[in-house]
Symmetry: C2
Subunit: 349 residues, 2 copies
């Protein structure tokens, strides 16, 4: 009863944490997906702003990782001068993996890359939040018209299957509200502040550990969480929100005294993204909230993320898992590929 | 781009909490599944030990529920004298929904019904734990050979997609361990004991509220959880365990003093089902454990269930949701149908 093995030739735009995480998984486990999932997954092309490699039969993932680590990609067979546009137009590939840096204001250049890949008949899997937060309805329509898959599991909670839980596992339920902790950086800072650090020291530690960027605005002012709230609204509740439509308050106003007062009352501050129906419309907000310790989201610590999906038929279902990390996000790409391999193409509503 | 609507004609064995829950969902939302999921779901036959109804074009779910409530099924059009065996052999149906009472020692008569339905080319969705705890490998093989689906989401955590999280969403990961709270009755009793009740009073309240049966042995001695542990081992870790292979200790030895001592230490007693790899074999155990409050399973209260799946690529992923209830378990049946509708047939390893 063994099914035939399908080959998936991936073209990657971007080779940061997500692309390297995917390559690490493939360098260790490529044979597993052939044996168990009948999926032969090969990276055939990678383009970044600095270099491009194209090997139609597949680039050895371990070799690629070593070359990148030693800044020797130019010496690889297949090294070429393609831009990402040229790669998408010309590479013999089945799937575009869009993992270029996120621009939450424009969604570019990722959205242009995705449109071009779909038009060429490629499946698209994006780890880039911009296109899904800003252009989901259009991209879903384009993919459906072309009969290709649009995968986006990586955009919220990395590889933790939070979006899939809603659009696939809970298909058939009416989703009435979604709320969660979807930004690991702020959750890490708040957790540290409970142990007595002030905001500035906790932020500095997050930066030292690589959880927060040098300019932490995107995380601490809630922009990242607002983008994810828009994605949750669009994917799980069929809304048409952009990040700018999300009411937003970050954690920069939370003081050590406020954290201590909450602790004394048996509560914890968490930055909560919430999407809910308000009559015929869907609204979304990101703001710090005090949760009682017994709240299912209260125990979610550090860089872990969590999402509660509130449904008519099942009540509340909560999923907790990693919210970031190269391998965890690389797994999200892989899980979209395995969904494609199961024959599933579209989010259904 | 609207897909054609597929019709699913269901034949139910048993019409207890699960069957009634499914009928309630269909009586309210049948059109939703046509509109959103392209699935026209009809109950065409129901057989219990006392009555049988068969209507090839579908039985109106609300009418059926009213007739059952007023003990007037015999007056329905389509009332007949079929046994369950006769229904499976003769009804014009696509899917057997097996929801007869569980026998965790033999898996009968459910396993015989399932074998007969598969042999006839029917898909099978079971809410009955016995066949999956005892005969999963055989039934999966039979279904694969016949090209039909074997659905079993209802057997652990009712409609909360805990099994689907493991075999579908986390496909591609290596599952190294699974642990959780999978019996709501014992969790309810332990939660009550934390508020000062002794074991006997907490059990009596659980019985009064319908959470525990008159003979509570199956729950409080851990037999139900052991059956679910065997299912988790077989479905998620490709093991061949039976409930008798699961090391088992119930909650009857937990005293109010033990609960109070745990509380004083900032810990909680929970009945934990655990499945793990031990060299080349898979082992399983059910036993009460003291968990620190920060443990992701410690905050799971009352009749809520939770499962943590420990993987190589994602680390720990936890799902929390209802563990029982007619509508919640009816939704599990529905979610298997919608998986079938997506074209997915088999658990892959």
């Amino acid at each position: 009863m063994k099914s035939p093995v399908s080959t998936y030739r991936l073209a990657l735009v971007g080779f940061g944490s997500v692309g390297r995480g995917l390559a690490e998984i493939l360098s260790l486990h490529r044979q597993r997906f052939i044996d168990r999932n009948d999926a032969d997954i090969r990276i055939v092309a990678v383009c970044t702003r600095r270099w491009c490699v194209y090997e139609p039969n597949g680039i050895d993932a371990a070799t690629l990782l070593r070359a990148v680590a030693s800044d020797a990609v130019g010496a690889l067979p297949g090294a070429c001068a393609w831009s990402a546009d040229q790669m998408i137009a010309s590479a013999d590939a089945d799937v575009l993996v869009e993992a270029s840096p996120t621009d939450m204001a424009t969604g570019e250049p990722a959205t242009t890359y995705i449109r071009a890949a779909i038009a060429r008949g490629m499946h698209v899997i994006t780890a880039n939040k911009g296109p899904i937060a800003l252009h989901f309805a259009e991209l879903r329509r384009l993919a459906a018209e072309r009969g290709v898959m649009l995968g986006f599991e990586a955009t919220v909670m990395s590889g933790t299957p939070a979006l899939r839980l809603g659009w696939s596992d809970l298909a058939g339920c009416d989703i009435q509200e979604v709320r969660g902790i979807v930004n690991g950086t702020t959750n890490f800072i708040l957790t540290r502040m409970e142990r007595g650090m002030d905001y500035a020291s906790a932020l500095a530690e997050a930066q030292r550990l690589g959880y927060a960027e040098t300019d932490p605005t995107g995380d601490v002012e809630g922009y990242d969480a607002a983008g994810k709230a828009a994605i949750l609204a669009n994917v799980l509740m069929n809304a048409h929100l952009t990040p700018a439509d999300v009411e937003r308050e970050g954690i920069t106003g939370i003081t050590r005294d406020m954290v201590a007062a909450a602790s004394a009352a048996g509560e914890r501050w968490k930055l909560i993204a919430r999407v809910w129906r308000d009559g015929p419309t869907v609204r979304a907000a990101v703001r710090p909230m005090r949760l009682m310790l017994r709240h299912p989201l209260a125990g979610v610590d550090g860089a872990t993320n969590a999402l509660t999906i509130i449904t008519d038929l099942l009540g509340d279902v909560t999923i907790i898992g990693p919210g970031a990390g190269g391998v965890a996000t690389g797994f999200a790409i892989l899980s979209d590929l395995l969904t494609l391999q199961q024959g599933v193409r579209h989010v259904s509503f």
